[in-house]
Symmetry: C2
Subunit: 161 residues, 2 copies
């Protein structure tokens, strides 16, 4: 590779860009979470879970599949499902089809909350993020994310890459 730059420390300028990037993205995430919970009783995590479940057959999914699909650790999902269950958004029941797993099921109430939160959430993504950028910038965001993901070795598993 012979990269000349990798042995030196970041410059002030580079660090500033890094910090701005992280802080801005964090602020964006927080704003979006705020919008979501002001329009529905859901958090971002609840939304991700319910998004996956409502799109699944019978609004239901194996716990481990769900974790893989949304990219969460198992224990994180387990804790989160506990909280959601307490609020009546989902149910859990021993896996119907033989094996030794757990089926997670979105309740009617959970699906209702999801529907109620969905449109405002998508609108917020547009208003807070997409509207801030030109189409060229959005394409740049895509390329930059891809470069970082590749660099970090995410997306390893995908087949054809």
């Amino acid at each position: 590779m012979d990269r000349t730059h990798s042995r030196t420390m970041p410059t002030r300028e580079q660090l500033r860009i890094w910090r701005d990037h992280i802080e801005t993205t964090e602020a964006l995430r927080a704003r979006l979470a705020g919008r979501l919970s002001s329009e529905s009783t859901l958090s971002s995590g609840d939304y991700q879970v319910l998004l996956a479940l409502t799109e699944a057959p019978r609004h239901s999914m194996r716990s481990s599949e769900l974790a893989a699909l949304i990219g969460w650790e198992r224990s994180r999902l387990s804790h989160h499902l506990g909280r959601m269950q307490k609020r009546g958004l989902i149910r859990r029941q021993p896996c119907a089809d033989g094996a030794h797993g757990v089926d997670v099921i979105a309740t009617e109430e959970g699906r209702e909350e999801f529907r109620a939160g969905s449109v405002p959430h998508l609108r917020a993504v547009r208003e807070l993020f997409l509207d801030a950028l030109t189409p060229e910038q959005l394409a740049q965001v895509e390329a930059i994310s891809a470069a970082v993901r590749r660099h970090l070795g995410l997306d390893e598993d995908a087949v054809g890459r």
Copy 2:
């Protein structure tokens, strides 16, 4: 404003870019935090606090100044300082100069940990983030962050803008 695009929902493609962006940045943050705590006993939060304090005169700062400088809510800082104090990284003492505040002081141990973590941390920023991008992309990141910050109304207070 008459923006033609603001009344429609995001496309699938736009949503994908959004999610990739958020997830990638989050993964980056997590990786960096992991590197930091594997090289020193510090978390990212500890690092930010100690960075501000070690650069301040007498390694000390009013609690409220500190919160403003690193952009944290007061209560968040208070909780965090409690944890750092328990580990001996900082001390707190009633404000020396008259008024009714609290001085936060980096202990010798805190400064030592900061020094130990600093170089590996900066190296990790380079390796995980800066090395992933071309100079053009880094400039794009800067412009994109600026656009989003402007759009969200951050940076409001700055004088001359």
